[in-house]
């Protein structure tokens, strides 16, 4: 193909948008509406999961050691635990640290009466898990490790967080499927309008002897540009809304800021931006491809 022909077909794609203003606007609005809903929904779910993840990270399993265990064995156990796939990181609390912390927290000046460390056997590892759903697995392993006397776990917290996480996952899948159906329906309607607008034009091109590529390419370019605009617009709106809403919530409800951690707009857009662009341009590409294909066999 000649370079000038390629340029011409690309240029036609751009001019098609202004030629069929209403059709272009309807298509952009449809894609924008779908991606706006997706953007809002993604922001909410991503934050919810982030908050849960933060809560999960605070959940730790504590292991205590047999009486008279050597320092070497404790270090060895620490190494073994660290290498487990479930484990995010571990903290070693020596008996003295455990006593000091207990003293500070509960006894204050009354602690002076103790001459020896009453928590001599309280050296322990705090084990932080990557995902609370893995806790049961890890605990059953820890209970069988030689040198470990006791495993403390917060089963209820872990199960609750795990349950909420799963629920959010199911709801997210449900809503995404619903959104997908709505999008397909809306885009199907827009494509149908596109077909009636283009039928005559495609017929003329084919009678003149245009190849499928020559007919299709401007429409595909047009579809992709519409998809691009249709994804950039809702991204901009979601960006503004997100920034303002997070700022508003944290300012108005200062108590929340100490409990909840929200994702920054950059963190949300790190994922939302590429996904929305791919979906928008992809919908434009597929939509225009299908529209033209229905009439290209003349």
């Amino acid at each position: 193909m000649r370079f000038s022909t390629l340029l011409y077909t690309i240029k036609q794609g751009f001019t098609n948008i202004t030629r069929n203003k209403w059709y272009s606007l309807a298509s952009i609005a449809t894609i924008s509406a779908c991606l706006f809903l997706f953007g809002i929904f993604y922001s909410v779910v991503a934050n919810f999961q982030y908050i849960l993840k933060t809560a999960q990270n605070g959940v730790a399993v504590t292991v205590f050691f047999d009486e008279g265990i050597s320092e070497e064995r404790i270090a060895q156990i620490g190494n073994e635990i660290s290498q487990r796939s479930e484990v995010d990181h571990i903290n070693y609390i020596s008996a003295d640290e455990a006593w000091n912390s207990f003293k500070d927290e509960y006894l204050g000046e009354y602690a002076d009466g103790f001459t020896e460390n009453p928590l001599a056997d309280s050296a322990n590892y705090e084990i932080y898990i990557k995902d609370v759903s893995m806790q049961a697995n890890l605990v059953s392993y820890l209970e069988n490790v030689e040198g470990i006397r006791m495993v403390n776990q917060s089963e209820v917290t872990a199960n609750t967080l795990d349950g909420i996480n799963r629920l959010v996952g199911y709801v997210a899948i449900g809503i995404i499927v619903l959104l997908l159906f709505v999008s397909v329906f809306l885009i199907g309607n827009t494509v149908t309008i596109g077909i009636s607008v283009r039928k005559e034009e495609i017929n003329i091109m084919k009678y003149i002897g245009a190849t499928d590529f020559f007919v299709r390419f401007p429409f595909v370019i047009e579809g992709m540009i519409i998809g691009l605009i249709g994804s950039v617009v809702p991204l901009g709106v979601v960006y503004l809304i997100y920034n303002n809403v997070i700022g508003f919530v944290l300012n108005k409800f200062t108590v929340l800021s100490s409990i909840l951690n929200f994702l920054t707009v950059q963190e949300v857009f790190h994922v939302l931006l590429p996904i929305s662009l791919v979906i928008g341009v992809g919908i434009g590409f597929v939509g225009s491809f299908i529209t033209v294909r229905k009439h290209i066999r003349v």
Partner: protein, 228 residues
């Protein structure tokens, strides 16, 4: 140039649209195909453009067996046939120049060449001064001239005109036919499907009369025959 050899075409319902039609048209001929509606004229045009395939028989155009063309070969085949329709079929959102240039772009003529060819063919059809106009700003006759210019700009050896005067008044009809005659004199084979009695009778060209899918008459310097 164009040969139909025992060609029949049936649609899924009803009687055959064409029934055992054999026609041979030499290069440089000017031929009218006449007949009332339902006679098979439109089916014939669609078969020649490979929009339809015959149910039986062979169609050869420009040495190509139309029935054996693959989908991807059709565009190249159609570029050797200029087509003019009753309803002009112009791209309404583009001006006269762009409508004609479009046919050149389809066959990938360089821009420089297009800038030479389009004004030249517009001069031939008498529209040199209206290249910037949109189709809606033109009369029916002028729109049909644009369609003729578009059909001819790639210099096809064959020009098919399907009821080219169907939407025109007598004066414009005569002018379009005069234009087609001039084109024919320059060597292009012209095939005009029409039911315009006055024009057929005035031009004294070869006339093939069809009725109910069958060729009922083929006269060398013929006239319009009413349905037999």
């Amino acid at each position: 140039m164009i040969t139909l050899d025992h060609v029949s075409k049936s649609y899924s319902t009803g009687a055959p649209a064409l029934n055992d039609v054999s026609i041979h048209i030499e290069p440089g001929e000017f031929v009218f195909i006449v007949g009332d509606s339902g006679s098979g004229k439109s089916t014939l045009i669609k078969l020649l453009l490979r929009e339809l395939l015959p149910t039986s028989g062979t169609i050869t155009v420009n040495g190509t067996n139309v029935g054996k063309l693959k989908h991807r070969q059709i565009p190249k085949f159609r570029r050797k046939i200029g087509v003019v329709f009753q309803d002009f079929r112009l791209l309404m959102d583009r001006n006269v120049y762009e409508n004609v240039a479009f046919a050149q772009r389809v066959v990938q003529v360089p821009n420089k060449q297009i800038r030479k060819n389009v004004p030249s063919i517009l001069a031939v059809v008498g529209l040199a001064g209206k290249y910037k106009a949109r189709p809606k700003q033109l009369s029916g006759g002028e729109q049909q001239r644009v369609a003729v210019a578009r059909a001819l700009v790639n210099e096809p050896p064959i020009l098919l005109a399907d009821e080219p005067t169907g939407n025109l008044d007598p004066k414009n009809s005569q002018e379009i036919m005069k234009l087609l005659e001039e084109i024919n004199e320059k060597g292009t084979t012209v095939l005009v499907v029409t039911h315009n009695r006055e024009i057929v009778n005035a031009m004294k060209k070869r006339v093939i009369t069809m009725s109910q899918g069958v060729v009922v008459s083929d006269q060398k310097e013929g006239s319009y025959i009413d349905e037999i």
